[in-house]
């Protein structure tokens, strides 16, 4: 005889209970395999995985209670003990419970599914979702690092999902020198976009003279592209625009500053204006033009 929770239990009963529990575990494993095969083809991967886990742990729980019941353990005592224990455990395991509930809420909210490229803005994490378990979301970052993010952090974070929509807009700013013909540059870029098969015709690509900025006239270039091509096309379009403007002799200016030196205490009348203009030519390297300006009056 062995004493368990104040009750005398025969060794044979314990063995039988252990067999019941082991059988329960076996059934749970079989049910897990069966559920995976049955639901895998019919449901999204994350829902199927979650359903499989729920089935597995429910069977384990039933097996555990059956085994305990068979051993003759008084459930009333267990429940009272579990109640007190639960309160203590509740405080201790608050983060775990929060994560568990967040995991369940994420299943209903479904901001992303397994395989989606996402960015958790508030967590500063970006990558592809590998799995959403009861307690955490596993992400492979774009540079190949595995990150486990607790579900409550995922649930409360702003989530950018890069694959939900089939089309996205590329947004580029292209600066041209003030002396250049903005209309010509705009037309050249528009033609470039129209000749690119990956740029969508609808919505039509938009090229706008948007800003008379400090150092350049800024054009905004907004083509829509298939979402799957967004990253590679953004680079390609930027490179193509650079080459196009170079080929057509349209200058993309560097920042320029005109520096005026104030009048000296000796009352010199001349001021020195210094214009520093950087250019990218190998032979020119950097050009510094210094000229004197005569003070008017």
């Amino acid at each position: 005889m062995v004493e368990i929770l104040g009750a005398e239990v025969e060794l044979l009963t314990i063995v039988v209970s252990a067999v019941i529990f082991a059988a329960g575990v076996l059934v749970a494993i079989i049910a897990k395999v069966f559920t995976t095969r049955l639901m895998g083809a019919r449901l999204p991967p994350d829902v199927s995985a979650m359903l499989t886990k729920v089935v597995f742990w429910v069977i384990i729980a039933i097996a555990a209670f059956s085994a305990i019941g068979n051993a003759g353990v008084d459930f009333a005592g267990v429940i009272v003990a579990a109640g007190i224990f639960g309160v203590v455990l509740g405080f201790a395991l608050q983060p775990v419970v929060v994560n568990l509930l967040s995991g369940l809420f994420l299943q209903f909210d479904r901001p992303a599914k397994i395989g989606d490229p996402v960015q958790l803005v508030d967590q500063d994490v970006a990558g592809v979702i590998l799995d959403v378990t009861l307690f955490s979301t596993r992400i492979r970052t774009f540079d190949g690092v595995f990150i486990r993010v607790p579900n409550d952090k995922v649930f409360t974070s702003r989530i950018k999902n890069f694959s939900t929509h089939i089309a996205r807009r590329v947004e580029l700013t292209v600066g041209i020198a003030y002396k250049e013909d903005a209309h010509k540059a705009k037309k050249l870029i528009q033609d470039l976009l129209e000749s690119n098969p990956r740029v969508l015709t609808d919505p039509a690509p938009n090229v706008m003279v948007w800003e008379l900025a400090d150092n350049s006239v800024n054009l905004w270039v907004w083509p829509w592209v298939p979402a799957s091509e967004w990253f590679s096309l953004r680079q390609q379009i930027m490179e193509d625009i650079k080459n196009l403007l170079d080929k057509n002799g349209i200058e993309i200016p560097f920042p320029q500053r005109t520096v005026w030196f104030g009048e000296s205490k000796k009352g010199e009348k001349d001021r020195l204006a210094v214009t520093i203009k950087d250019s990218d030519g190998d032979d020119k390297k950097s050009e510094h033009r210094v000229h004197r300006a005569t003070r008017a009056g």
Partner: protein
């Protein structure tokens, strides 16, 4: 070689068992399939440069086709539908109908047949392939986009670029409707070819009111064009509902 079409021209479409080598030239592109030891090589040249090379393993004699295929493979597959934009809007009075011809693009595909099931292993487009979004980014469709006139007579298409199709438009509503575009499925749909001329199946487009919303239902149906069918026997949707405007 057992031929389903005469090989008298280097740019004719064909479907045949490859004994040693087949070669087809379309514009600046040359498509070559040839036996290489136990397998087959497929190569595509643009000018002198080999831009695509595949090795094909086949249990028996390889059946290949150089055929017109749906214009959705170049430069990459983004969707299954075609969006035809009319060069000038079509104004349809209530309960009116119109039969017309249109031109649409197609691609030239290198198709391998395995137990009569076709796989497009490569495709070229001699014209500029452009795509457009029909609907919204959430649940719309990225479609191959093309502008066409509506013709009363069978129009002359650009060789190896354009197919001719026929559409029957019906306005079943009680109001005048202006139709600017049609969206219909093309993935897996067979074309008909007769030497240089390529034809698409017929399209039926019906403007109707559904749940207080005016939509167009399009349906691709068999046509009576002369010539051979590409016979790809691929799964193809035949209907599409245009619920985001027309």
């Amino acid at each position: 070689m057992s031929l389903s079409q005469p090989l008298d021209k280097p740019d004719s479409y064909c479907r045949l068992e490859v004994d040693s080598r087949i070669e087809r030239r379309f514009g600046n592109n040359v498509l070559v399939v040839e036996k290489n030891g136990p397998g087959y090589d497929y190569r595509r040249f643009t000018g002198d440069e080999c831009v695509v090379k595949n090795t094909i393993a086949s249990a028996g004699a390889l059946e290949m086709g150089i055929l017109p295929v749906a214009p959705i493979h170049v430069p990459a597959k983004y969707g299954n539908n075609m969006m035809l934009k009319f060069a000038s809007p079509l104004v349809m009075q209530s309960h009116s109908s119109l039969d017309a011809y249109f031109k649409m693009p197609y691609e030239i595909g290198a198709v391998s047949f395995d137990n009569a099931k076709a796989s497009v292993i490569d495709a070229i487009s001699l014209g500029l392939a452009k795509y457009g979004l029909y609907g919204n980014p959430e649940d719309g469709s990225v479609c191959r986009s093309y502008q066409t006139e509506l013709y009363a007579e069978n129009p002359e298409p650009k060789m190896h670029q354009e197919a001719v199709g026929s559409v029957r438009l019906r306005n079943e509503t009680d109001a005048t409707q202006t139709v600017n575009k049609l969206v219909f499925p093309v993935a897996g749909v067979d074309f008909y070819y007769d030497h240089d001329h390529v034809f698409f199946k017929d399209v039926e487009a019906t403007v109707k009111e559904v749940a207080k919303k005016t939509i167009i239902e399009t349906k691709v149906v068999d046509a009576r064009w002369r010539g051979s069918s590409t016979g790809l026997a691929q799964h193809a949707e035949s209907q599409y509902t245009m619920e985001w405007g027309f």
